[in-house]
Structure formats: C-alpha cells, structure tokens
C-alpha cells in the first residue's frame, strides 16, 4: 500500500523534455535498424536463395552466426573491439545503430526468405515470360508480394527490436531507459521514472501490435 501512496508523479512533468530526447534516440535507432535491417536482410535472403553456392553459404553463415549470439554480447563486443581495430573511438550511439542494423538484418532476412518462398514459381515464370531479367522479376514481381505477405511478421519483429533497443543501456547510449535512469537520479525518484518509461514502452508496443492485427486481417481479405 505504502508503495503506491508514496509515489510522486509530480517529478515526471519537468523531466519530460529530457525523457523526450531519450525517446527520440530509441525511435531513431529502431527506425534506422528496421529500414537498414530489412534492406540488408532482403539482400541476405536473395544471397541465400541464389544458385551461386559460395554466396549462399556466406550469407547463411552470417545469419546463423548472428542468430546464435546474444544481442547484448554483440553490442558490447562491437563497442569495445571496433575502436581497437580502427584506432578511432566510436560514440555509443553510432556503435548501437551499426550493431542493431547488422544484427536485425539476420532476423529480417529469415522473414524475407520465407516471404520470397511464399510467392509461387508461376509468378517468377510469368515475369520472365514477358522478358523481365532476374533483377526485374525480383524487384517488380517477387519482392513486392513477399513484402506484402510478410508485413505483419516484419512489424512484429520491429516491436521486438524496439524493446531490445533498451539493451544499449549497457554501453551508455542515451536512449529512453538511460534518460529515465538519469532523470530518476536527478530527482532522486528512480522508481517513478522507471515506471513511466515502462508505460511509454508499453503504449508504443501495444499500439503497434494492434496495427499488426489489423494488417493481418486485411491481408487475409486480399488473399
């Protein structure tokens, strides 16, 4: 009982601008890792499906490697090792963006691979039969349909990505969680700040998952 009565929500309003900067980074990181991850992931999927086996093997190796290592370790390693190799220090935010894009690409590529395989061979034949090249058939016929079929799954993966961005906390990048921690320390009210951050994560994820449901029913109608 005393836990709730002792909560002081009045500290939230003055820290909103600061929390907002954190949320902005979280959202930016999510959007960049999503777009970059989907583009890279699509290329990886095409590589895995290509008849040229060294390329297919390299892509498959990359995807399986990324999917077998905990994300937190990838984030930490990349942040610590890259400066040692290149000799230049890299900001936590930049490092996070690169790591997340590279890591999520592995997951998005599995989704896009399933999407590409969901498009029938007859569609490929039809594209080729009117004289399209491999690239044109992929670009105009197969990938748009693969993307459309997989949209709900891609979005679901993005929700997971959005939640996982909080792991950048470990390298000190200033995301929503980090901002909440700092604000909590400033006002000496960590519990309120963490709860508020959790509410923001929840509201965004919940809205997105409603969107996924909506899309799923629409795609079911199109089919």
């Amino acid at each position: 009982m005393s836990f709730f009565t002792e909560l002081d929500v009045s500290v939230i309003a003055p820290s909103l601008p600061f929390l907002w900067t954190g949320l902005k980074f979280t959202v930016t990181l999510t959007l960049i890792a999503m777009s970059g991850g989907i583009i890279l992931g699509t290329l990886l999927a095409l590589a895995r499906l290509s008849p040229f086996s060294p390329l297919a093997m390299a892509a498959s190796w990359y995807v399986n490697l990324m999917r077998s290592i905990p994300l937190l370790m990838v984030i930490l390693w990349f942040f610590l090792i890259i400066p040692l190799i290149t000799g230049y220090p890299m900001g936590a935010e930049t490092s996070a963006i690169i790591t997340f894009t590279a890591f999520e690409a592995a997951y998005y590529s599995e989704i896009m691979r399933a999407g590409i395989q969901s498009v029938s061979r007859g569609q490929v034949f039809a594209g080729q039969a009117i004289g399209m090249t491999y690239a044109q058939t992929m670009g105009h016929i197969v990938l748009p349909q693969a993307f459309r079929n997989m949209l709900p799954v891609l979005l679901t993966q993005t929700i997971i990505l959005f939640q996982d961005t909080s792991l950048v906390y470990a390298i000190g990048a200033k995301d929503l969680l980090k901002a909440a921690e700092i604000a909590g320390k400033n006002y000496n009210r960590p519990v309120e700040m963490y709860i508020f951050a959790a509410v923001i994560y929840f509201v965004i994820c919940f809205s997105l998952s409603r969107l996924v449901k909506h899309l799923q029913s629409r795609i079911a109608i199109i089919r």
Partner: protein, 242 residues
C-alpha cells in the same frame, strides 16, 4: 519460326523429355496433347527457355535457346506465354499488368503502353475492368487479361500451357473464342490443350506426347482420322467420350 531439334531433359535419373523434335512454321497453329505427366508443360517451357534442357536445341526465329550467348530475357520478350493458372500479378491493377512489361522491358513510354494495353483489353472485351485487381475478376476474365498481357509485347508467336484447364466449364469458351480469333489472324501458336473442339477448329497439326516422347506429329485430319499409335487412339477415345 520454332524449331525443336532432338531435345532431351532429365530430372536426376528421370527422363522428362526424350529426343523431341518438331517444327512450327510461321502462322501455324499446333496443338500438343497427351496424358498427365507426359512432359507437355516441360516441352513448351523449353521453347522460351523457362526450362533448360540437356541435349538438342530449340531455335526460335533464328535464335538458339540453348546457346549460352543468347540473352534469354530478350528472346522471351518476343515470345508470348499464357499459363494454366493465369499468373497475373496480384499486387498490380489490370492496367499495370498490361503495361509493366511494355515499360520495363520494351522501354515504351507510359502513355504508349497504356494505349496499347487498353486497346488489347478492349479486344478481349474487358475494357471496363481496367482499374480492377486480378483477384476481383473471374478465372475466365483473368485468363483473357493474361492473353492481352502477352499480346501487349507484340510477340512473334504465342505459347499456351493448358489455358482453359483451370477454368469452370462455362468460362472455357470465352477464352477459346479469343484464341480462335488469334489463330484466324495468323498468329503462330503452340497450344497445350485437351480441348479437341479447338484443335478441330483451328489447328493445323496435332502433336501427341507420351512418357516424354513425341509419339505422333500429324496434320489435324490425319490425327483425328487415323491416329497411327495405339496410345493416341486410346487417349482420343477417352477424352472424346466426355
């Protein structure tokens, strides 16, 4: 126009095509029939290189399909093909289905492609459906659009792989009518079908396949009059008895 010279094809140990040869002259309509699994689809797909083959060669309008120096996409843009399951692009409107090849492959302007597309749509009697999507059309309508899509590329010949066998009976004729008209205009056509009425009406020759071989390659009158092989006789009596 189309020369098929001794082609053979294997799937692993299984021989799908065995030493198949035939010629289709300009303006000729050739019907290919035979039991399921006899290799008809495989043979017709070899003509525009959608399927590869291990032996022999196919020459289309002087271009060798099997030659590694042939740019297959170039060749295919000149050979129209219609599939059993229509294969319209479901994420594009009917208009886009008709124009994408003209724009991306032939390099026509959007306007030119649209004019050509609508003209052909008119021809197959579907002008009013231009803005719809494939999923909103009946099977017969989709197949007519698919024929128009192939014609939009101004092909030198047309390949049909069982264009009516996925259709409800009442829609078969609307598609056959378009094909008959095309044949009467002198289009070179290779048609895999079991519609013997169509064959009787417009075919010049009939090819009968069995187990990957061309068993019979005869003029229409010879084929329907006195098929030489027993297999063809049996096959004919079966499908004509329906």
């Amino acid at each position: 126009m189309i020369e098929i010279n001794n082609i053979s094809k294997w799937y692993g140990q299984f021989q799908v095509l065995a030493d198949c040869s035939t010629r289709i002259a300009k303006g000729e309509v050739v019907v290919v029939c035979g039991p399921s699994g006899s290799g008809k689809s495989t043979l017709i797909k070899c003509v525009n290189g959608l399927e590869s083959f291990e032996q022999g060669d196919v020459i289309v309008d002087g271009t060798s399909v099997g030659s590694p120096t042939t740019i297959l996409s170039k060749l295919r843009s000149r050979v129209g093909m219609v599939f059993q399951h229509f294969e319209l692009f479901p994420h594009m409107s009917i208009t886009e289905n008709l124009t994408i090849g003209q724009i991306k492959v032939l390099g026509r302007s959007k306007d030119e492609a649209l004019q050509r597309g609508l003209k052909l749509l008119d021809r197959v009697g579907l002008r009013s459906q231009a803005e719809k999507f494939p999923g909103q059309l009946s099977g017969g309508q989709q197949q007519r659009v698919a024929i128009a899509r192939a014609l939009a590329m101004d092909p030198i010949c047309m390949l049909f792989d069982e264009p009516t066998s996925a259709l409800d009976p009442e829609m078969i004729n609307e598609v056959l009518d378009v094909m008959v008209e095309l044949a009467n205009e002198g289009m070179t056509m290779m048609v895999v079908t079991h519609e013997m009425g169509f064959a009787r009406k417009v075919a010049h020759r009939v090819i009968f396949m069995d187990h990957g071989r061309i068993v019979e390659d005869a003029t229409k009158d010879d084929f329907f009059g006195t098929p030489r092989s027993e297999r063809a006789q049996l096959f004919l009596s079966k499908i004509l008895s329906h």
